[in-house]
């Protein structure tokens, strides 16, 4: 709290130097982990994005659903869509539903397009625990490979008005 003496620019002590060096090396390690994982890791944040509009994206979702629907979900009546492996698949977020129900095969690759029709939404795939931010006007493309099978839930984890907590969708992964 007090004014320092006139010359306070003094060399660092031994312990300060030690800690500064160790802390700096740790920071470099933290920095390097990200590019390292980017090139070596299998879980990276998708970056592929296209501009879209709710109308254009909605039309793609409808075409996708028309083409690949295999049934309807008993609880919600929502179409269950089973696209071929390797294809572009579409998921629509709007208050307060994820549409449609996706049926995927374990170990196959899919290009998952997600966009919102209205507000910000949060794509939170549980219990896999993958979370992405979904914005209207942005077609966000995640290239995914389900590595486990069973029923998964998509929770909305970005507040989207008062019905937010009722917004849950479904992904079914079947064994090949």
């Amino acid at each position: 709290m007090l004014a320092p003496e006139r010359t306070w620019w003094k060399p660092l002590g031994r312990m300060e130097k030690t800690w500064l060096t160790v802390a700096f090396v740790w920071c470099i390690f933290l920095t390097l982990m990200m590019p390292l994982w980017y090139f070596m890791g299998k879980q990276n944040v998708p970056t592929e994005t296209y501009r879209t509009t709710p109308e254009a994206f909605g039309a793609k979702v409808n075409a996708f659903v028309d083409q690949y629907t295999v049934g309807s979900d008993a609880a919600t009546g929502m179409p269950i869509v089973a696209p071929p492996a390797g294809s572009d698949i579409y998921l629509r977020a709007m208050k307060w539903q994820w549409y449609p129900v996706l049926q995927l095969e374990e170990g196959q690759t899919y290009r998952l397009h997600i966009s919102s029709m209205d507000l910000n939404h949060g794509f939170s795939l549980q219990p896999v625990n993958i979370n992405l931010q979904i914005l209207p006007g942005y077609d966000y493309v995640a290239t995914i490979v389900p590595t486990t099978n069973g029923d998964f839930t998509i929770v909305c984890n970005e507040y989207c008005d008062v019905g937010h907590h009722t917004m849950a969708g479904k992904v079914i992964v079947v064994k090949k």
């Binding site: 709290m1 004014a3 320092p4 003496e5 306070w8 003094k10 002590g13 312990m15 300060e16 030690t18 800690w19 500064l20 802390a23 740790w26 920071c27 470099i28 933290l30 920095t31 982990m33 990200m34 590019p35 994982w37 980017y38 890791g41 299998k42 879980q43 990276n44 944040v45 998708p46 970056t47 994005t49 507000l119 910000n120 949060g122 939170s124 549980q126 219990p127 896999v128 625990n129 993958i130 979370n131 992405l132 931010q133 979904i134 914005l135 209207p136 006007g137 942005y138 995914i144 490979v145 590595t147 486990t148 839930t153 929770v155 984890n157 507040y159 008062v162 907590h165 009722t166 849950a168």
Partner: protein, 575 residues
């Protein structure tokens, strides 16, 4: 040698209206005193409002009670975020800026009218936003108010008024320093605490300007004047305000840490250069942190996110790690110089644990660093963020930083502001001794409950996660830990507000006669001026214990960080 009693006498011009503090020998401008009191009172009012909301929210997320209906949950959550994250902390910081730019520099307040104008704008904005959120059903848009979620135009106007008021107050901080320098009130460098506050003030300027860039267009958009407002652009600007605003809190909190350490244990910074360099690192790099909120947003490249989220190679993190060494080390050296020299931690055993300011300092540092800092860096890693984004791990992290860290430190500092600035006797001293521990312990449980819930995928800002039917049963346990912690923290908050109100509303005005509140009649602040270089450099006074502590910290940091990569490696492949 540092001096406490100012050497430059004040002119006896009509402008100078001051008193000399009997405890610190500092000159306190009467305008400063009144401004500090006004800002501190508003801070506590906002803390009270936000605290009531906190209790009700926590009792809703704790599934056993699930108290509020959904609309009130979201409404009070919005209120809680704004009152706590912005109003309480910023009002308190403004009080700190008035103090730092005058009393600590032996200077007068050069722009009191401007400062009052700023205060009034902040007060109007702060109260108005509470009113709008409470009475307008469409303004429960959360603290972040993501476009295109639309609130009432008055909601955005409140933000703007508050921010402009804060900006004006920050301007008076700089005016005071320039005038003080010009009038020769102090010579040489700024004291370290003022240097830290100055870092906070500089950060605050561009933080508030970025806030304007986000909120002003939103204001026009909410009135229909602006037709389209890109949600991605809004998020970018908003977090240019929202995250750096927390870094303002960080810099101010660290400045308060140095102050508390000096007031309660009589430290001298072990190396001014080291501590100042750490603040400079904040200044240059911490603004990049807004990317933390955009790591899983569409439209941004890996390179952009990696550079920004790492504050360009974690240099701001380095700044915090430097303070994490330098403050305990200074305490250790000061304690050892007093003869508390036994073993590695004898200095710590003999520390004034019953002194509210010291208790608050220690709780604040532990919670901020060991929980807040470690979890923050981890979830702010580009890829790991996919596991954490918008889960309860996020609020788990920032309750450790701004509640356990900043708020605990500010609460502890308040206990000294009451006798020294309000000039009232501190009442309920036995409560004040306990309060930092109660509040800190509650906050630890809150954070850990949230973090462990978030690890299991529980979403933040969510009225009832069980609705989604996905969460394993252990979530009920972790949410209960969060709930119990919240009850304890709220108890600590009630203790704090009761102590403050009992002290300032009752009893006569009383000149303080002691620095320490509960642990002695000595004056550590004056003792610190007697700590010579020679005493600090003696081999037996070196901070060996602190070095052990910081390495233990680093080990914990590494374990937590690396285990998150392991967790990430187990999930679905995605790119």
């Amino acid at each position: 040698m540092a001096t406490l009693a100012p050497t430059t006498p004040w002119t006896s011009s009509a402008k100078d209206d001051y008193r000399v503090c009997g405890v610190t020998t500092l000159k306190v401008d009467m305008h400063t005193e009144r401004l500090i009191i006004a800002n501190a009172v508003m801070a506590v009012v906002c803390l009270l409002l936000g605290g009531i909301a906190a209790l009700l929210i926590a009792l809703t997320r704790w599934q056993v009670f699930h108290l509020l209906p959904a609309d009130w949950f979201y409404r009070l959550l919005t209120l809680h975020g704004i009152d706590m994250l912005v109003a309480w902390i910023v009002f308190f910081e403004m009080a700190g800026l008035h103090f730092g730019s005058t009393a600590l520099l032996n200077a007068r307040h050069a722009a009191p009218k401007l400062a009052w104008f700023g205060f009034i704008l902040m007060t109007v904005g702060g109260l108005m936003v509470n009113g709008v959120v409470l009475f307008d059903p469409n303004s429960s848009v959360m603290f972040s108010a993501y476009v295109p979620l639309k609130a009432h135009p008055l909601f955005y106007l409140s933000y703007i008024l508050f921010a402009v008021g804060a900006l004006i107050t920050v301007a008076t901080f700089f005016i005071n320093i320039v005038v003080a320098k010009r009038e020769g009130r102090f010579t040489g460098s700024l004291p370290l605490v003022v240097f830290g506050l100055m870092t906070a003030a500089i950060l605050a300027v561009y933080t508030l300007l970025e806030g304007a860039a986000a909120i002003v267009p939103a204001f026009f958009w909410s009135m229909g004047i602006l037709k389209n407002y890109d949600p991605g652009i809004y998020r970018n600007f908003f977090w240019g305000f929202g995250h750096p605003a927390q870094q303002v809190n960080l810099a101010a909190m660290v400045a308060i840490w140095y102050a508390l350490a000096q007031m309660t244990t009589g430290i001298r910074p072990i190396n001014e250069k080291f501590s100042r360099l750490a603040f400079i690192l904040y200044l240059f790099f911490i603004n990049l942190g807004s990317a933390h909120h955009l790591l899983v947003d569409p439209g941004l490249s890996f390179a952009w996110k990696a550079v920004n989220t790492s504050y360009a190679m974690y240099l701001a993190v380095l700044g915090s790690m430097m303070h994490a060494f330098s403050i305990p080390a200074a305490i250790e050296v000061a304690q050892r110089a007093k003869g508390h020299n036994k073993g590695l931690f004898g200095w710590l055993r003999n520390a004034p644990w019953g002194e509210p300011g010291f208790a608050a300092l220690i709780m604040s540092m532990i919670i901020f660093g060991w929980i807040g800092g470690v979890t923050g860096v981890t979830i702010g890693t580009e890829q790991i963020n996919m596991l954490a984004h918008n889960t309860l791990r996020l609020p788990g992290h920032f309750h450790a930083t701004v509640v356990g860290g900043t708020t605990t430190a500010f609460m502890g500092f308040t206990y000294y502001v009451i006798p020294l600035i309000f000039r009232k006797e501190l009442k309920l001293k036995s409560w004040a001794k306990l309060q930092p521990y109660v509040f800190g312990f509650g906050t630890i449980l809150v954070s850990l409950g949230m973090i462990t819930s978030g690890l299991q995928g529980v979403a933040r800002r969510h009225w009832d996660i069980t609705f989604a039917g996905v969460v394993p049963g252990t979530v009920n346990i972790t949410l209960a830990i969060f709930g119990i912690g919240a009850l304890i923290a709220v108890t600590g908050g009630i203790m704090y507000i009761t102590i403050v109100l009992a002290s300032i509303l009752t009893g006569p005005r009383l000149e303080a006669d002691n620095m320490l509140l509960t642990t002695g009649t000595n004056n550590p602040l004056l003792e610190s001026t007697k700590l010579t270089d020679e005493m600090m450099e003696r081999p037996q006074n070196q901070p060996k214990g602190t070095l052990v502590l910081v390495f233990a910290f680093l080990a914990w940091f590494a374990i937590y960080y690396l285990s998150n990569w392991w967790l990430l490696g187990r999930t679905w492949f995605i790119k």
